[in-house]
């Protein structure tokens, strides 16, 4: 009886193989013809029969991503990587899916791992540089883009990325040259955004605002323009306009970290603490372990009398970032609230030292 069952299974497997290959062929045909939902259905049917098919998993991920179903795409890409962990195409696609869902750190991690395999791939290099920019690793972005600039000095996209990294890294002189190069191609939204970023750095808020308004006029869908306008409006104390700008950015990119984070700080300012906490948690999901977000959460905890929670978070923060002045300030307040006077005095002394150091640095720089 047992031998009959084994034989039956073997025969059905033999019969299933060609039939399943038809399924895969049809799925690919639908995929290529643009019928993504049909392709997804067939890939899934095929994977029920052949769960370890790298091609089917990878293609299914791509079709899902095309349909905007990034979370499911990420699952399929990760399944594919369990079969072949160093498959460069799957790694790039996974990075793209992470990038699209605002999971920039994870996207960056995958791109970094794929870079040695595809050293001349422009898409990988530029996307990695963009991730670096979004995460604030400006020097890394510059180092990555420098060799490409020599090869493609007239590429506007590259100039824009490099210019942004240079301006945000306070390398005004070199950044200015890149902006000039962009401006030689005529007025553009991208150039205006870059100019505005440089002006924001130089605290020329009215100038930045003017350029940002012009950038949005030229291209209302330019990524980050609304976010930067929000920052400019925050600087002039127009909080309603700032909130409106951040919300406009989220319409274009629901994963924009700056917009989510700043809306959180505005909600905190209005004492809408539950809303601010939820926005900060969203920010933390985008930038895990971001100390600015952790600090904001601690200040909400302090404002809502969760003093012990605030203490734990702030102690961890100052341990990880001993130079974080605001965290020491809040920790001093927490200690005084908890009647731990000596600890409060110690934190206050640290704040004084950090402030004095900062002043000395400023004086030395003048």
């Amino acid at each position: 009886m047992r031998s009959v069952l084994v034989l039956t299974l073997a025969v059905s497997a033999l019969l299933a193989q060609p039939q399943s290959e038809y399924l895969l062929r049809d799925a690919i045909a639908l995929h290529q013809s643009g019928d993504f939902s049909g392709a997804i259905r067939l890939y899934q049917e095929y994977l029920n029969l052949r769960p370890d098919s790298l091609d089917a998993l990878s293609n299914l991920g791509a079709a899902l991503a095309h349909e905007g179903r990034f979370a499911e795409a990420i699952t399929e890409y990760n399944r594919a990587l369990r079969i072949q962990p160093k498959n460069p195409q799957v790694l790039v696609n996974l990075a793209l899916a992470y990038y699209k869902t605002g999971r920039i750190s994870e996207a960056r991690e995958r791109l970094e791992s794929v870079r040695p395999m595809l050293p001349n791939n422009q898409q990988v290099a530029f996307l990695l540089a963009d991730c670096d920019l979004r995460l604030g690793y400006y020097k890394k972005a510059i180092a990555l883009l420098d060799p490409w600039e020599k090869e493609m000095p007239n590429d506007l996209g590259l100039s824009y990325l490099l210019g942004t990294a240079l301006i945000r890294d306070q390398q005004g002189e070199r950044g200015g040259k890149v902006i000039d190069r962009i401006l030689r191609n005529g007025d553009s939204a991208e150039a205006r955004l870059l100019l505005a970023t440089a002006k924001l750095n130089a605290r020329d808020i009215p100038g930045a605002r003017k350029d940002l308004e012009r950038a949005i006029e030229l291209n209302p869908r330019l990524p980050e323009a609304h976010s930067y306008l929000g920052l400019a409006m925050l600087n002039v104390g127009d909080f309603d306009a700032a909130a409106a700008a951040f919300r406009a950015e989220l319409q274009l990119d629901p994963y924009n970290f700056t917009a989510i984070f700043q809306l959180g700080t505005l909600a905190k300012r209005d004492q809408r603490f539950d809303e601010s906490l939820s926005l900060f948690e969203r920010s933390l999901a985008l930038h895990p372990k971001d100390s600015a977000v952790e600090y904001q959460i601690a200040t909400v905890e302090l404002a809502t009398d969760k003093v012990e929670q605030a203490r734990r978070r702030l102690e961890k923060l100052v341990q990880e970032s001993p130079q974080f002045l605001e965290a020491h300030v809040s920790l001093a307040t927490v200690y005084y609230r908890l009647k731990r006077r000596e600890d409060g005095d110690r934190e206050r002394a640290i704040v004084r030292r950090l402030t004095a150091d900062e002043e000395m640095k400023k004086a030395a720089g003048k």
Partner: protein
């Protein structure tokens, strides 16, 4: 017993003004509070002496001309660029006028802070703090700073007592100025309980017994605290206005010592004492005999604050502020942040 009955009857007959309610029992504090600048931290435009006594104020900067003119019992704020103009009646005057007085008005349902304020030192108008460097590309921008509901609530939260809001941007009711209940939480319940003849469940917290840091937090709800300024600035001479930040950075500040608390020198119920020598006894609470922590001044035993708490001029505010960072100040010293 008879006295208690009379007291309860007096309170029952009172309105809702906290100072009046409280005065029945706390006469000294209430009387002193009447002349305290904090009590007059907010005035309707009709009540502002500056506006009443200066019926035609003007200020000009570039192409923009500003005026505040008294018409009947109203003060009309106007800005013109020679082509168009924006006008609105001033609704509220913020500030007691020791340093200056700033004005709030409404246009199309939104609140605005007027671009110019009154400065007694000038006997006239100049830019409101923070407006000097503002962008003024058009009349709208030149007229003032639009302030959102959260900020309006904060303005009234400190300059008035128990402002009641019902979701709108205009308070349903408020008591102008800093009245008893602003600092003494639960004062209204306490007064009501006394009226009923049963004050026991509403015994008030004795603020005088607060520790230095607790008191600083209480005052810091409106006068920016050390933490506010340490974290957010401003750095440099503009932080002279933030007394608690300056005081906390003094060498002699001790968070455990109530002789350095705000109320050690200032009576929150009364006027600001301007006689320098009157503060000598406060300094001598510590600096009377030499000890491990306090030295004796070799120069003088009088007018301590004239040297150790120098006046610092803030040109933008047309006022000389007393530096609460207690120190040995020498001529030509850099401003200690």
């Amino acid at each position: 017993m008879i006295r208690w009955f009379i007291l309860t009857a007096q309170l029952a007959a009172m309105g809702t003004s906290f100072a009046q309610d409280c005065e029945v029992c706390h006469r000294r504090e209430a009387e002193a509070a009447r002349s305290s600048p904090m009590t007059h931290a907010l005035q309707g435009a009709g009540e502002s002496d500056f506006l009443k006594n200066n019926p035609d104020l003007g200020f000009r900067s570039g192409k923009f001309s500003y005026s505040i003119r008294r018409e009947n019992n109203q003060s009309i704020y106007s800005v013109t660029d020679g082509i168009g103009s924006i006008s609105a009646p001033i609704e509220w005057a913020l500030g007691t006028g020791i340093v200056g007085q700033t004005y709030l008005y409404r246009r199309e349902g939104a609140w605005y802070e007027a671009a110019v304020s009154f400065y007694p030192e000038l006997k006239g108008l100049d830019w409101t703090p923070g407006h000097t460097a503002r962008l003024r590309r058009n009349l709208e921008e030149a007229s003032g700073r639009k302030i959102d509901v959260a900020e309006v609530r904060r303005c009234f939260g400190c300059h008035s007592t128990v402002a009641v809001w019902s979701g709108a941007s205009v308070p349903e009711s408020l008591t102008p100025g800093v009245q008893c209940a602003q600092c003494h939480t639960g004062a209204s319940q306490h007064a009501a309980a006394v009226r009923r003849g049963d004050a026991a469940p509403t015994v008030m917290q004795k603020l005088a017994a607060m520790e230095t840091e607790e008191l600083a937090n209480l005052c810091g709800k409106c006068h920016p605290s050390w933490a506010d300024i340490a974290a957010n600035g401003p750095r440099g001479p503009l932080n002279i206005r933030f007394q608690f930040y300056r005081l906390t950075n003094s060498r002699c500040y001790d968070s455990a010592d109530r002789r350095i608390a705000c109320t050690a020198c200032h009576d929150p119920h009364g006027r600001l004492v301007k006689d320098n020598s009157s503060y000598d006894s406060k300094c001598q609470q510590c600096h009377l005999t030499a000890n491990a922590r306090a030295k004796i001044c070799p120069v003088s035993k009088r007018d301590c604050i004239t040297c150790h708490m120098p006046k610092i001029d803030v040109p933008e505010l047309h006022y000389q502020f007393t530096d609460h960072r207690i120190r040995i100040a020498k001529a030509g010293d850099k401003y200690p942040d």
